[in-house]
Symmetry: C2
Subunit: 199 residues, 2 copies
């Protein structure tokens, strides 16, 4: 059972701010899909917006074009294998929700796109129609209409793992060829006194 | 002295694929600046393109608008303090290249925007003019016209730290409020036999 609590929309950008690889969920007319995407980023704070590249040859693209919706899911290291799998095969050739190899999903609150179990955070998004970006660059902009996180990983607007937490609470950063970085240790930088000026 | 070797442009996306926080360098008519940006991503493989959010109120924006060029620099953990500094103050209020608090820079090969010492990799970019994106979303697209990396961190198209390397070779992932993640350990996922299908 995936644990989740709502995330204040004004803090939703923090779920993506550190640049994790995400899973893009999509659904339309009884079909659903999920793919991995290393190319996404926050685009605005409030209302929160995101940008993500969705290749024109993917089933995900077909479903997002048809539905105007998608989910961004931040996978934990524990589903790195599944992340690679859903990023390596097309939903036209394989059932990415099959027992054993694929992922399982649960329903969002605002969009029909599936949310993926085993993730640390979830963003439900509506496409901001920008046909030129979509056609020319495979670039999609979306408004985040709901956001969720596993409170064991992110709560009160901050990433914070349980004391003594292991690597299962770390997110993923895809490199290439099946290689990932996991998210490393957090640390705080104290500004030097000289830099204490208003920005 | 910053060590650097050229990166094959077809592999340049890998310098950003894992979602590091970057420094955006800019210059025009004798003025130069650098700011931190957590919101950037690769946009295409070949020719390599990138996307980055550059707020309309920044000096960086003024210089990028005027020059049509910028650099993206991937800072190492060793310059986390400087990264926070150049991301916290405006180039209109402080000299970000001042001795002691700021960064030092060297010249690129294709653009006038400064490249920043203490980084692991550098991308020289020309703006792909998309006025609607720039005006409405502060979103800039750029073509990567040259790329470089410190061969101790990235060589032969792959991130690879020296044996026994410490945290000084890790990149940064900004969270908020002066908090960063460093890039964690790399690991390889071997696809399950069932997933050995063409994508």
């Amino acid at each position: 059972m995936t644990e989740r609590l709502p995330v204040d929309l004004a803090k939703a950008y923090r779920l993506l701010n550190h640049g994790p690889t995400v899973l893009v969920g999509s659904a339309h007319a009884g079909r659903r899909n999920v793919m991995a995407a290393a190319w996404s980023m926050p685009l605005d704070f409030s209302p929160p917006k995101v940008a993500v590249v969705i290749d024109r040859n993917t089933l995900t693209r077909e479903l997002v074009d048809a539905s105007g919706e998608f989910s961004l899911n931040v996978p934990a290291r524990t589903i790195a294998r599944e992340t690679l799998f859903v990023g390596s095969v097309s939903g036209r050739d394989a059932d990415k929700f099959a027992d054993g190899t694929g992922v399982s999903a649960f329903a969002g609150s605002h969009v029909a796109a599936p949310l993926i179990d085993g993730c640390l955070a979830w963003l439900e998004c509506r496409v901001i129609p920008e046909p030129h970006n979509q056609d020319r660059y495979d670039l999609f902009l979306g408004e985040v209409v709901a956001a969720w996180a596993d409170p064991r990983a992110f709560r009160d607007g901050h990433w914070q793992s349980p004391p003594g937490a292991g690597h299962e609470w770390r997110s993923l950063h895809y490199i290439a060829g099946g290689n990932f970085f996991e998210t490393g240790d957090a640390f705080e930088v104290k500004p030097a006194p000289e830099s204490d000026v208003n920005s």
